[in-house]
């Protein structure tokens, strides 16, 4: 039985803002560009603090950026 899955819409929300590159998003969130790449590819789970920073930089709510899909909710 698989557990809960955390996905994100970072790339989609970033591309909605003209000129917001991965590098710029990384700068705003005070992380490396590779972390943004890993986040967009779903290979890294951010801390709560970083999740909030990302939401603020993307001008969206945390739950708009990250989605939690539990098997029981499907």
């Amino acid at each position: 039985m698989s557990g809960p899955v955390l996905s994100n819409r970072i790339r989609e929300l970033r591309q909605r803002q003209p000129g917001l590159t991965q590098e710029e998003l990384a700068r705003r969130c005070q992380v490396t560009r590779q972390t943004i790449i890993a986040l967009e590819a779903g290979r890294y789970l951010p801390s709560l603090e970083l999740a909030f920073r990302l939401a603020r930089a993307l001008a969206a709510g945390v739950e708009e950026v990250f989605q939690w899909a539990d098997d029981g909710d499907r």
Binding site: T32, Q34, T35, S47
Partner: protein
């Protein structure tokens, strides 16, 4: 056509080849060449070449930016430098001490030279890491992902250290003294240094592996 990218890629490739050549020469001087050639300490020259090889490789990798997603972070570069340096120091110590004998007198000139060259390699690696940090100043150098990777690698290293120490203690405790390959205090000290080196090697290898896993 992006000519600047092509030129940068060519320049990077040249630096990578230069780094590779320096690395081979460094390995030869450290492990296979006589301790002195024409009155020059080959170990010190090898250590300096190892530092040059490291810088060339890092510069070459930065210049060959073919795939933006393959850009290596400062954390991963530092992990690679630490891994290669630790492996080089370990190979160097193993080669020289097994040739001179594990019970070598601590005050001997040969051992002092070996210690000096080992320290030179470690200092060179620290200088290279510092130069890298200064070169990338202005950008975010380290973030929570780097710290998480280092933490997990340290945990792996702790496990390796415990396993090796327990192995050493059991070997020392259960093997008759006359059959023990290292029974003198100096030899046991060398064995403990070896255990420390191996656990550090495991830590840096784990860091490099985790960084590469996250890029796949």
């Amino acid at each position: 056509m992006d000519t600047s990218a092509t030129t940068g890629s060519q320049r990077g490739t040249i630096w990578l080849w230069a780094g590779g050549a320096s690395g081979f020469l460094a390995a030869y001087l450290l492990l296979f060449a006589p301790n002195e050639l024409l009155g020059i300490d080959t170990g010190l020259v090898g250590s300096a070449l190892l530092l040059l090889a490291g810088w060339s490789a890092v510069y070459g990798l930065s210049a060959t930016r073919a795939n933006p997603e393959s850009l290596v972070t400062l954390g991963e570069k530092r992990a690679w430098i630490a891994l290669i340096t630790t492996a080089a120091v370990g190979a160097y110590l193993l080669d020289k001490l097994s040739g001179l004998g594990w019970d070598i007198d601590l005050h001997s000139r040969a051992l002092q030279k070996i210690a000096t060259n080992s320290v030179a390699m470690l200092v060179g690696a620290a200088i290279l890491a510092r130069l890298l940090r200064q070169r990338e100043a202005g950008a975010t150098l380290e973030d929570e992902r780097d710290r998480a990777i280092r933490q997990r690698a340290a945990s792996d290293s702790h496990g390796v250290l415990l396993t090796l120490l327990i192995g050493l203690v059991v070997t020392l405790g259960l093997t008759p003294v006359d059959r023990l390959p290292f029974s003198s205090p100096i030899a046991i000290a060398h064995a403990l240094i070896g255990v420390l080196l191996l656990s550090e090697l495991a830590r840096h290898a784990a860091e490099v592996w985790r960084y590469r896993q996250e890029r796949q």
